[in-house]
């Protein structure tokens, strides 16, 4: 089975497969995002307290979910890289980090923009906001550590250890609103409770979160292909591709 996994995860094989499956992420993203935005901005009704302003949650909540999901990908592929020494796992982790950082930044900014009119402040140092900011710093630290070594192998190992250490922040973010008094409200959608009392609001939120998942898939595959061309530049199959484009 190891041979099979290693064959599948070989850079060459992944390069070819990812080229074929990228559209399967990109086009669903476009459709889901367009329908989701229409549903969220036009079909869904206004909120009884916040009026129109609540609609920012259709970006904010999926972005915050993705910020945590991508960090999980980072840590798991880091672990797979360390244990099974599969190069592809390091590639996936490396190219995912900036995407995750961007989603984290988006969640923080949309939250601040909503917080000013609703709470009366852009920012407070409560447990939820602070732990999400630490997540952004973890992504930035991961990226700088990955670029701080001349030897790519050492860089991948060191940054994977950092990614796994930072994993402890994820449950803190998730449970911060339960464990401590925070200004940030509790979860509106969780396994045992949905506090969004309108089907159209819920549909819009789910469409947008699906759209963000597909967007991440497409971006990750496209960036991984570029990264593989760089790391495998000395192998014969990459040289062949480059020759083809030179002619």
């Amino acid at each position: 089975m190891w041979k099979w996994i290693q064959a599948f995860a070989s850079p060459k094989n992944f390069y070819q497969i990812s080229q074929q499956i990228t559209p399967w992420f990109l086009y669903p993203f476009i459709v889901l995002a367009l329908v989701g935005l229409y549903w969220g901005l036009i079909v869904a009704p206004i909120d009884y307290q916040q009026g129109e302003s609540y609609r920012i949650m259709f970006i904010h909540v999926p972005a915050a979910w993705m910020s945590m999901f991508i960090y999980l990908v980072l840590a798991i592929s880091g672990g797979i890289g360390l244990i099974l020494q599969i190069k592809l796992a390091y590639v996936v982790a490396k190219v995912s980090a900036p995407i995750g950082a961007a989603f984290t930044f988006l969640a923080l900014v949309t939250g601040a923009v909503w917080g000013k009119p609703m709470w009366g402040t852009w920012w407070v140092w409560d447990a939820r906001l602070t732990s999400e900011l630490i997540l952004l710093f973890l992504y930035l630290a991961y990226m700088s550590l990955n670029n701080a070594f001349d030897n790519p192998k050492t860089a991948s190992k060191a940054s994977s250890v950092l990614a796994i250490v930072g994993l402890v922040n994820l449950p803190i973010i998730h449970y911060s609103v339960k464990w401590w008094n925070t200004l940030h409200q509790g979860a509106s959608v969780s396994v045992n409770k949905v506090a969004i009392q309108d089907t159209n609001m819920l549909i819009a939120l789910l469409l947008m979160s699906m759209a963000f998942k597909f967007l991440y898939g497409a971006l990750m595959l496209m960036r991984a292909r570029d990264e593989i061309l760089v790391t495998e530049q000395n192998s014969s199959w990459v040289k062949k591709i480059i020759m083809k484009y030179k002619q």
Partner: protein, 140 residues
């Protein structure tokens, strides 16, 4: 053990060690991570004395009195209540029955606020649903 199992053990130890450190760290800082104190916490003497702190609770019904930009209201957790003095702009969501968090200090039993923030809860619903819920509640 093969090399692969060896590496797996190392990664597992790393995860366990970090979780333990995180758990102990959080336990040690638990009190400091509370963003605000409830009126009951304050009555029990948990809030810092003589220093500014944050008080959080519901704005009591029929307690808001405005005089220009000066406003007084009661903050309650339905067990204990404190009256709050504040002058300044209140956030959009501020109203009676709303959760708020206010920064200030306790002087002679009255909370002199320097900042009032509205706390939003996790409920989202259209106005018609909110009306229907309100009506159903009043019928009982």
């Amino acid at each position: 053990m093969t090399k692969r199992q060896n590496r797996m053990t190392l990664v597992a130890l790393l995860v366990i060690g970090v979780s333990l450190a995180g758990y102990l760290g959080l336990k040690a800082f638990n009190e400091n991570l509370l963003y605000f104190f409830s009126p009951t916490d304050v009555t029990e003497g948990k809030a810092p004395k003589g220093k500014s702190f944050r008080l959080g609770g519901m704005v009591a019904k029929d307690s808001v009195k405005r005089d220009g930009i000066k406003v007084t209201f009661d903050v309650t957790d339905y067990a204990n209540t404190f009256s709050v003095n504040y002058s300044g702009i209140l956030p959009d969501l501020f109203k009676e029955g709303q959760g708020i968090i206010t920064t200030g200090s306790l002087i002679n039993g009255v909370f002199m606020a320097t900042e009032v923030l509205a706390k939003h809860d996790e409920n989202y619903m259209p106005p018609e649903v909110a009306d229907a819920l309100e009506k159903a509640k009043n019928k009982q």
